[in-house]
Symmetry: none
Amino acid sequence: MTFIKRSIDATTAERAIAAAAEKATEMKIPMCIAIVDESGDLKAFRRMDGAPKLSVEISQNKAYTAACFGMATHAWYDFIKDDAPLLHGIPIQLEGGVVGAIGVSGGHYSHDMEVARAALAAIGAEAK
Amino acid sequence: MTFIKRSIDATTAERAIAAAAEKATEMKIPMCIAIVDESGDLKAFRRMDGAPKLSVEISQNKAYTAACFGMATHAWYDFIKDDAPLLHGIPIQLEGGVVGAIGVSGGHYSHDMEVARAALAAIGAEAK
Amino acid sequence: MTFIKRSIDATTAERAIAAAAEKATEMKIPMCIAIVDESGDLKAFRRMDGAPKLSVEISQNKAYTAACFGMATHAWYDFIKDDAPLLHGIPIQLEGGVVGAIGVSGGHYSHDMEVARAALAAIGAEAK
Amino acid sequence: MTFIKRSIDATTAERAIAAAAEKATEMKIPMCIAIVDESGDLKAFRRMDGAPKLSVEISQNKAYTAACFGMATHAWYDFIKDDAPLLHGIPIQLEGGVVGAIGVSGGHYSHDMEVARAALAAIGAEAK
């Protein structure tokens, strides 16, 4: 009658954000980092001092979109999934499923992705 | 040509959220905690595990509204400012000005406010 | 605990609008001119007599968007920033930072941009 | 087949705003001042340095509402027209008709109204 959803917990989300912020600080680019849960709802967020206003929205949209795509099996996902600018955010895969997603905004998309990957590495999640 | 605005920094915002989450954990009520900056833009956010979906939006709206009211001097603000259900969020006053605001959602409003006040106490901010 | 944001002051905003209106009068095109601050909130506005109703909204949207983009460092901003129809408004850079933005509407976009640039010149701001 | 609408011109609107800002400066209360035309569309606007964010919207809403009420003949307008807190803004009557309206926000409503009246006096308009 029911089924189980696995969702990223707050501690892990904060750990991911801390690692992302550390990476962005190292790159000297103030960014916004958003983590959403498996349903696309905001789980944790940080706007680094000086991060552009636009990135407040964009980082959340990226994470939301990635959470949606993460659970999708559409063929075109396979088509775009290695093309970062098209996907922007990254689904977070833990314990065998997509439990959330991360969106980063503030720099060139290659910088944003580098920061997102640093966050995933810190929590032992591999990009799907 | 220009004038200065003072804004809550990311470290302080995270410290406020950590204190709020600790208080909410102690009360055994999973909550959402949102911190916005002096312009009402989201600065930091945490959804505790199990916090209701509705509180994701509500906590952010509360913080946004409080940031707006925090800078207002309308007489009716004085009238409602001690009546939590009417105001909902709390402006954050630091270094002589309103630099942001906090919104908490997940429990009865009196619980939400208790958590918000714990956050303010942790960063040495007094409710305006 | 806090950090500083720099914002365009009212005197400078009015000076920019006066210069824009003078330019538009010279071109015999009634326009709307909007100045927003660094957070995208309206700072000063003028609808010249006869300016189209639609331009009331459009000028403000242009300024808002430019304020957001002004603080962004996305590579695609560099790509579009010399292509007026894509960006529409212009961030205002003063004293080393983006402190606001201007949006003009009422004529062909090339006329709108000419008026916006006249405003920036009058306050010694360079287009970012 | 047609009829004439009389609308406040940009010069007069700017003169009203300058007088309002002077009065507010004298009262040491930073305010937002909005002038709309006879149709309720924004004609001129100024946010004084330090005026609360909330007043950006409120001043415009007040002016819009007053422009609507100014042209209305509903009995309840007569009922509320001397009760400032209910009406908030003031229609601008010039050359025999309502040609626009002013909305001021930033202080206690009695301060807001005092500033609005100073603006009307400066352009020789009497409150309807």
